[in-house]
């Protein structure tokens, strides 16, 4: 090897080193990445500030009242007002929602994914479900006001509230969340691999047997996740309840109210209490009680959401 070739090789090596070495800073890239981080942090800090602010406002209530804030019912006196009545109302509504919307929604999802032929009508049903999911919740309130409140009244279940009770609220909320139940359940059913269905059919199972024994059990975690989130949605909704006549003021449930009275009588719910307290003239209601009610509401929702995430992570299985 001559000295000249050796020099040329050295030169090439230096050039390559320069070419593939880190060359300066790409400012566009830095700017862009930096902006993304700032945006993400902003979003996260909004959540943080929101929770911190409300916790701080709610703190005095919990400090003074402790658990009695949760166990006391409605009252005109801010010193004794609690969220128990609202929790009862929310639980009753959620129960009705679960009873009505889960079976119908899951069955509709199974029909869409397993039975429905691939034609225009099925597509129409599918589109309808998606559109219903996007209808503003207050429109469902109008639906409840025009149809379900009179329906409850006509069935003789109006009670002392003249139809503005948890039955009407539960039906309205069930219809509101139904499309969400269908969509999440359909997604879970769709995720079950086709080979499992084939295996079932291959040993001579009917479609229903395949669905009952294999498709639904495999899709169950996904379906459950969806239904839990749906319940959270139903518990957090306020607007439709306002339209169908939830009590936004004080009402006195009779001391010896039976369950039937509670079901047919006036009611309130957790988010509604937040709303109505926030516009009370007595400052304590808006300043400390409403935030405390929010904390109770958020606690319920976070538990439900946490349960859903736990369900999803626990069961993300590989086929």
């Amino acid at each position: 090897m001559t000295a000249a070739t050796k020099r040329r090789e050295e030169e090439t090596k230096r050039q390559v080193e320069r070419a593939i070495g880190r060359s300066g800073i790409d400012w566009t890239s830095v700017w862009f990445s930096g902006a993304l981080v700032v945006l993400l942090l902003t979003t996260l800090s909004i959540l943080l500030v929101l929770i911190a602010d409300i916790l701080m406002k709610a703190w005095p209530t919990f400090q003074e009242r402790g658990i009695t804030f949760v166990t006391d019912g409605l009252s005109l006196n801010p010193a004794t007002a609690g969220v128990f009545t609202a929790i009862v109302g929310s639980v009753m509504i959620a129960t009705i929602v679960a009873v009505i919307s889960f079976p119908i929604g899951i069955a509709a999802a199974v029909w869409l994914e397993e039975y429905a032929p691939n034609n225009r009508f099925t597509q129409f049903v599918d589109t309808t479900v998606r559109n219903l999911a996007g209808v503003p919740s207050i429109v469902y309130g109008l639906l409840g006001l025009a149809i379900f409140v009179p329906l409850v009244r006509a069935l003789g279940l109006g009670g002392s509230s003249d139809g503005k009770n948890v039955l009407a609220a539960g039906i309205t909320m069930a219809v509101l969340v139904l499309p969400i139940v269908v969509i999440t359940a359909a997604e879970a059913v769709r995720a079950v691999p086709y080979s499992i269905r084939e295996a079932g059919f291959g040993v001579g199972a009917t479609q229903w047997e395949v669905i009952r024994s294999h498709v639904v059990p495999s899709a169950l975690p996904g379906i459950l996740t969806g239904t839990v989130l749906t319940l959270a949605r139903a518990i957090g909704e306020t607007a439709p309840l306002l339209v169908i006549g939830v009590a936004t003021g004080y009402f006195a449930p009779a001391g010896d109210a039976t369950l039937a009275d509670q079901i047919t009588g006036p009611y309130t719910a957790l988010p509604v209490v937040v709303f109505s307290w926030s516009r009370q003239t007595q400052a304590e209601f808006a300043n400390t009680l409403a935030p405390a009610a929010i904390i109770v509401l958020l606690a319920v929702l976070f538990i439900l959401n946490g349960a859903a995430i736990w369900l999803r992570n626990r069961t993300e299985k590989k086929w």
């Binding site: 790409d26 862009f32 993304l36 945006l39 993400l40 909004i46 959540l47 929101l50 602010d53 406002k57 119908i104 069955a107 509709a108 199974v110 029909w111 397993e114 039975y115 429905a116 049903v125 589109t127 309808t128 479900v129 559109n131 219903l132 999911a133 996007g134 209808v135 503003p136 207050i138 429109v139 469902y140 309130g141 109008l142 639906l143 025009a146 149809i147 139904l178 499309p179 479609q207 229903w208 989130l229 959270a232 957090g236 306020t238 607007a239 306002l242 339209v243 006549g245 988010p271 509604v272 709303f275 926030s278 808006a286 409403a290 935030p291 958020l298 929702l301 976070f302 959401n305 995430i309």
Partner: protein, 307 residues
Amino acid sequence: MTPTLTIEALAGDPKRRRKERRVRTLFASAGMVSIAVSILIMVALIGEAWAFISQVELASLFTFGWFPRRGFYDIPTLIVATTLIAGIGMIVAVPLGLGTASYLAEYASPRARRWLKPTIELLAGVPSVVLGFWALTFISPEFVQRLFSAAPPFTMMAAGLGVGVLITPLVATVSEDAMRAVPIDLRLASYGLGANRSVTVRKVVVPAALSGIVASLILALSRAIGETMIVFMAAGAVGGALRTANPLEPGQTMTAAIAALATGSDQVAGEGLAFQSLFFVGLLLFLITLVLNSVSNRFVRKYRERY
């Protein structure tokens, strides 16, 4: 095994087949419920809305403000306020949502993503009544009134910012799904050509996921227009509102108008056509969001088909 098989042996169990048919019918009828609900909504809205439109003096639909109990049904008041608040919400949500989505989809390590995503979903799970309260008690005094000292406590600005917080996680999660649906091959091709991550995101991933991103934005707009509690609590104007496009004044959106009428007294049925006007506004709202959602769904289908 019998040497000859008869046709009866392959006919199966008639009881089993009957059961199969019954189950199928049952499930199909559950599938039809969604159509029934749609029809119910149309019936409920159109009946009263028609009563309103056929009885109302058309001139009262275009006056100076929305005061239904006094017979002034200025629809533009509601449209302007709705547009304004949704617009402010979008100004907040588009950068925050898309930035968060891009970071989650392209930059975050799997470990960071595992807790970032649920956190964003947590924000998505905050009920609107909570954000309404917060818009009124925090955003308005600590933000809007500090920036604009002349602003009253109830402003469309505060409501719009609250709506922005509400729809940010929606933009973030739907866009992130669209970005993650972009095949890894496209990214590898970009890196293979010597592009860095920032260029890949801006020039490859975002354009490829564009239809999904657009879908998320339209969906968010639809949610912003349909949102009730935040505007009802923070934008003020409970009884009615004058037509104004100033974000630092109170205003009334379509949704808030419905909620205000419904809670204004113990009886929803107010004076004159107030009760019917509720359904007319509801129908308008239904149609607007229906169009937006249909467009959004079309975009979603587009990107689902592509990959």
